[in-house]
Symmetry: C2
Amino acid sequence: MKYGIIGAGNVGLTFAHYLSISDKNFLVFTHSINEKSSVFRYIPESAFTEDFDYLVHNSDTIFIATPDYAIEKTIDSINDISKQKNIVVFSGSFSSKEKRIYNLHPAASIPQPVFDDNFVKEIVFTAKSSPFIEKLKNDLQIQIVYISNYSPLYHAGAMMASNFITILLFAAENILKNFTKNKNDIKRLMKSFSSTGLNAYFEKHKISGPISRGDLSTIDNHKSALRGKKEGIIYRALIKYGVNHLNAKK
Amino acid sequence: MKYGIIGAGNVGLTFAHYLSISDKNFLVFTHSINEKSSVFRYIPESAFTEDFDYLVHNSDTIFIATPDYAIEKTIDSINDISKQKNIVVFSGSFSSKEKRIYNLHPAASIPQPVFDDNFVKEIVFTAKSSPFIEKLKNDLQIQIVYISNYSPLYHAGAMMASNFITILLFAAENILKNFTKNKNDIKRLMKSFSSTGLNAYFEKHKISGPISRGDLSTIDNHKSALRGKKEGIIYRALIKYGVNHLNAKK
């Protein structure tokens, strides 16, 4: 297949690097190639084009790696040139009834372009099952989990399991900074806390801590301590959900 | 040192196993030894006692591994027998002005007793620096990060980085279950999402996703989709914090 990528941001460049190490035929559209010079170590300069028409004409499958709000306009621009192209959006929110338009959503947090050769191979993508997606999976050698449909609800769930973990750790860090100024110590603590928190979900599938012991006075003390702090809203929301979850299991 | 452990729950038994594989002299107080028979593979039956006085008399350092609300009463009971013992609480909330009372808080989520020989070695404990804690660290060969003091605020931060990750993943799972019923697929997705979310914090120290791209219309769509769902409160709290965090960095 001949691939085109529109959008040279975190996802577009990460994917372009993967196509490059996989020896695929591909082009990346960007408004200004010069600005990308720092990535030419990972993606050959010859893969970049500032010519949108050229990219569309020379691709049979076009990945749209723009922010969600620009997807519709980008699809229109492609269709103005050709209505024969397979279009793949990396979006977890956007969905189209058109047959040629597919979703391939990386189940990943990608805060900047990742040029680690194993990254794309190790993440899991979601997609709706179809012969085209099957072909794509085989050609790109990626992992796919099939889901029934895309909607803002799916995307919200996806964000909760990825971006929100990052946000939660920033909130915890902001509190723990009051107890040690040593950045390396905070990192050690956060690694210890978070890896066991993840493990409690994946290995035991069980919440731990004061709420699981019914220790509500400790929770009340935490709430008082967080009064007036911006982390308080996160604390109250997650405690409430956790208590409901534990009660529902009884 | 001769160690006593009061409380044979998740933390007490996990620690007792560690003392056992480290060939330490220790006793564990429990109200009913018979109930513990399933753990005798990991902790010798001879280490358990139902005699509180016996444990206190035969220990120079006593770990209190009860829920937080029972700590004060347990300290009183020890002091009624002897005022010479070093007392160590595993609590992140409790603090005492008394000199003989120390905190050693595992920076970990422990949803059930862990008898993996490496678990205690790999987690990090927090403690306030003192000659006794230094002696304990060397004798037990554990990792310690020193913090300035213990308070409900510290403990709330600790929970956010550990138990709350577990709760957040349950919330995300509950949403994603609407899109695939395959439990193994959900686990694969959650692993992919969460490991990259953690990585965004530890490696890039950067939030990703729609808010980092200023894509507020996507966020609004998520909020609408979550209206009436119990995950909505978590979504709104974390988005708000994430937006503030990103704005503060500008």
